[in-house]
């Protein structure tokens, strides 16, 4: 199966280890992934708060590029960032359901010689890996199972709400099942889809970081030594403000935080540098190795 890859702005910057580990894992699994040429920002959560038609047009441009790229049938566009995943899906819904939005977007796309028909499936890699590739196939690639590693799976909000297509909106389980297939022990906790603070950690730090603190504290209480994420903003919030959280809330012994694709890569025996592990601010590799009892 052929997948077009829409990185989104974060995966080229703070989310670089997500891109590195995702592409390395897909290569290992033998999946054909091609970066969408000439992609632009999707508008993220921000643009919609300024001008809705510009926001929809910006997102739809990427959908139109994907369609043009895939003349035979429906294009599969892989969007690893939860916000991109939501925004692209939302643009699809609004263009299909609201004639006034469709008219505006179609007209704007026409001005740059693009056309959007509505034939793109926007897919999150968690969906692709658990449903298209399947846990059985993933399991065959596991060389160093993550036995003993206690993980809290954190999905974030926008992967399941409001346009969930592959998992439960209140209690998603796809990442839990994937990590169990890798040999890890998945802890039960109720905050799988609770907001991490989003962009508020940067704009209203006291408020935003309190939301991240709540997640890290409850993950630790549930017994997790590591939190697995599937979104560059969730990852950033849980990983990069740990010093502030320790200082402001006296929260010690916070879990390490890693992309689920990095954990896949470790279990598949890929080299840490291929997975961007040297770029992390929490000791992901050490925590994983200590738990599994392997030598580094």
């Amino acid at each position: 199966m052929h997948y077009l890859y829409y990185p989104g702005c974060s995966l080229k910057a703070t989310g670089r280890p997500y891109e590195e580990s995702l592409l390395a894992v897909m290569r290992e699994l033998g999946v054909d992934v091609e970066e969408l040429a000439d992609w632009s920002c999707c508008g993220a959560t921000t643009y919609m708060g300024v001008d809705e038609n510009q926001a929809f047009a910006l997102a739809a441009r990427n959908l139109a590029l994907a369609e043009r790229n895939c003349s035979d049938g429906c294009a599969n566009l892989m969007a690893p960032c939860n916000a991109c995943y939501l925004v692209l899906n939302k643009a699809k819904h609004y263009v299909a359901e609201y004639p006034e939005v469709r008219e505006r977007v179609t007209g704007a796309l026409k001005s740059i010689d693009l056309n959007y028909r509505g034939d793109v499936a926007v897919r999150h890699p968690l969906d692709i890996i658990t449903n298209d590739i399947g846990l059985e196939a993933v399991g065959k690639h596991v060389k160093r199972p993550l036995t003993g590693l206690k993980v809290a799976c954190y999905y974030g909000c926008q992967i399941v709400r409001p346009y969930s297509t592959f998992d439960n909106q209140y209690n998603p389980t796809s990442m839990d099942e994937l990590l169990r297939a890798l040999g890890a022990e998945v802890v039960e906790w109720p905050l799988k889809t609770r907001c991490c603070g989003g962009a508020l950690t940067g704009t209203v730090p006291n408020t935003g970081q309190r939301l991240s603190y709540f997640l890290l504290k409850e993950a630790r209480r549930a017994g997790a030594s590591l939190v697995a994420t599937c979104c560059p903003l969730c990852q950033h919030n849980l990983e990069c403000y740990q010093d502030e959280i320790e200082h402001d809330f006296a929260e010690h012994g916070q879990p390490a935080v890693a992309y689920f694709t990095q954990l896949m890569g470790l279990a598949m025996g890929l080299r840490p540098a291929e997975l961007g592990l040297q770029r992390m601010l929490t000791p992901v590799q050490r925590v994983a190795l200590q738990a599994t009892g392997s030598e580094s």
Binding site: G107, S111, R161
Partner: protein, 200 residues
């Protein structure tokens, strides 16, 4: 008795804009606002409600009542982080997150938004996109703090430095590969928002 002065007991009475609710409902996504039964499920699911001047339920009631200024000036609409908890929980299927987006746009358009960094960040965000086709996280947040609370930059500089050392940050412009003029052309054709200066 007959000449005892009567004072308004509700301070907003003269400030009402009775057409406000109807004007909000005209936006795509906000069409179901009048189906709200004021049950408060939105407020109870909201992870940020404790910090809001008005709860989401109240914002809906105030919007319908025509308390335009108080709604548009409130911090509530900017604290909405778009987690969509309220949207999926609403028993009347009102897209509350999208109602908040409509109110954000109205607050920016009418120039009365709350004195917070978030609407400033929104302006920097679209300028970055119109200029480069991408959003450059670090330039956007830096420009936002310079315009609001420069001191905050010092507090966040440490994390920025650590990320830069790990190769996860760049002050250079991330640009899309193709013709960037396309983006400006597309945005101008699609909407009304001023995109800031060209170049970059």
């Amino acid at each position: 008795m007959g000449n005892m002065p009567l004072e308004p007991r509700i301070k907003y009475q003269e400030e009402l804009d009775l057409g406000f609710g109807r004007s909000v409902v005209a936006h795509p996504g906000a069409e179901d606002l009048y189906r709200c039964i004021q049950c408060g499920t939105c407020s109870s699911t909201c992870p940020l409600v404790t910090y809001m001047e008005h709860t989401p339920r109240r914002i809906i009631a105030m919007t319908r009542a025509g308390l335009k200024n108080d709604v548009l000036k409130s911090n509530t609409i900017w604290l909405c982080s778009s987690c969509y908890s309220c949207t999926v929980a609403c028993p009347k299927q009102i897209k509350i997150t999208d109602v908040m987006y409509t109110l954000k746009r109205e607050a920016i358009r009418s120039g009365v938004h709350a004195d917070m960094p978030i609407p400033v960040l929104a302006g920097e965000f679209i300028k970055s996109v119109a200029r480069t086709g991408r959003s450059n996280e670090m330039r956007i947040i830096t420009a936002t703090w310079l315009k609001t609370k420069p001191f905050e930059l010092f507090k966040q500089a440490w994390m920025g430095l650590r990320l830069w050392l790990k190769g996860r940050l760049s002050f250079g412009l991330h640009r899309m590969s193709g013709d960037r003029r396309q983006i400006r052309k597309l945005l101008v054709a699609a909407g009304e928002q001023n995109l800031g200066p060209r170049g970059g």
